[in-house]
Amino acid sequence: MISSPLFVKELKEAKWKIITGLLITGITGASLPFLVDYLGVFVEQMAMPEWARSILGQQLGNYPLYLWSNWYGKNLLQFSVAFAVIIAGPLIAGERARNTLEFLASRPLSRVQIILTKAAAGSVSLGVIILVSTVITLVASYAAARPVPVAWFMSGLLPQYAGALVFFNLALMLSVRSDDGLKAAVIAGGIALLLFAAEWVAPLRGRTVISMMAASRSFVTGDVHFGHLFFMLLLALGLLWAALTAFRQSDV
């Protein structure tokens, strides 16, 4: 099903995206445990609405809450979604734009192999960025003498990655029919933005993929919400299936 030569070529081409992604997420994650001190000064001195002051105050008194909500609820959440669409958007569209899709399609590879291999390589790249930056964040926490339970913290990765795969496969599906990788990424990113915004609408709050990724309930209970996890993985698979079907029907 997977063509290893193509897989290797994909990783070679994605090398700089992975490195850039790791730098940005890694630096952000590593600075989180150290920024908490400045947050105190910030809360004291800045003019801000009372509700914001109270949320920040809570986080200050509770380091695990601060770390989880900033990493899984904000920084990594945004990066996961952004890198998912940036990596997946050009996977097919970019090859079409560069005229290399014809090259690929005239090799001894099936369409299914092409798309599954690309999806696999992209998911691995995305996974590496998410995993390594989270480990960096954890290590930085210990370095800042603010330890948090390791298994508890790492469990936040599961919904995070599953949700990222949803947006990855959404962008891949758009990529299959397009010759503009940036456009595919921007449209998928736009849909993600709408879901971010939906968090402000009371009936939708906590019900979007975005909030499932942040997994605030897992923070409280320490358990992974397998229902959400299953839902996101199913959605990701459905989108991958749609991408595959579209690719088999499309001209190269």
Partner: protein, 241 residues
């Protein structure tokens, strides 16, 4: 061996008939030249042979494999040089060749030997470690040629392969094509360079508006025209309105 039977292909939901009931055969050990005015349907035919386009009607058999039933085996037995040498710019030349070698399961030792010979022949040895984005058009064309030959394909399919090649490389390519057919393999190529077709091909097909209007050896084609001096005369006469 290539066997095209009653193949038709149209674009834009049937509005543009690019290939119209085309039938032809190319035997092993034969060099077949495919000629025709711009927009006649040469590239469309070639894309169907290599599996990039599916025929609307008719069948194509390559090396005994039907393109519908065994597309992978067909592509495995073909070395294909498309009309524009678009290659992965962010790979180096050698990475590109290894990528191909891996895809066609060419053993390392065989691959190294073949690549070395071909790179030397096309004077690309010094550039093979550089990123492809630094290559000129002709260098890319040569790299694609080398890549297409790396797995020693039984059928060599080329779409206007001489474009952009310097005289020595064009000469070498012709040598390779001759050698290929002497080994009992099949060569099918499209070109606008009639001299090359005249000197190189065992048989020539002329396509116009999707239909094969003439097909045969140089002598046979001459018999079809009044002015028999050169292939150019014959071509101009046959492709006239």
């Amino acid at each position: 061996m290539i066997e095209i039977r009653n193949v038709s292909k149209s674009y834009n939901k049937g509005q543009i008939k690019a290939v119209d009931d085309l039938s032809l055969q190319v035997q092993p050990g034969e060099i077949f030249g495919f000629l025709g005015p711009n927009g006649a349907g040469k590239t469309t035919t070639i894309k169907m042979i290599v599996g990039l386009l599916e025929p609307d009607r008719g069948s194509i058999v390559v090396n005994g494999y039907d393109i519908r039933k065994d597309p992978i085996k067909v592509r495995k037995s073909i070395g294909f040089v498309p009309d524009n040498p678009s290659v992965y710019e962010r790979l180096t030349g050698i990475e590109y060749l290894n990528f191909l070698g891996d895809m066609y399961d060419v053993p390392r030792a065989v691959r190294t030997k073949r690549a070395k010979e071909l790179l030397e022949l096309f004077e690309l040895t010094g550039d093979v470690g550089n990123l492809i984005q630094s290559y000129s058009h002709g260098m890319r064309q040569k790299l694609v040629l080398i890549g297409a030959l790396l797995h020693a394909p039984d059928v060599f399919v080329l779409d206007e392969p001489m474009v952009g090649l310097d005289p020595r490389s064009a000469h070498n390519l012709k040598e390779i094509m001759s050698r290929h057919c002497q080994e009992g393999k099949t060569v099918f190529f499209s070109t606008h360079i009639l001299d090359v077709a005249e000197r190189l091909c065992d048989r020539i097909g002329i396509i116009r508006r999707g239909k094969l209007i003439a097909c045969g050896t140089m002598d046979q084609l001459r018999h079809m025209a009044n002015n028999k001096e050169t292939l150019e005369n014959v071509f101009l006469e046959l492709t006239e309105q």
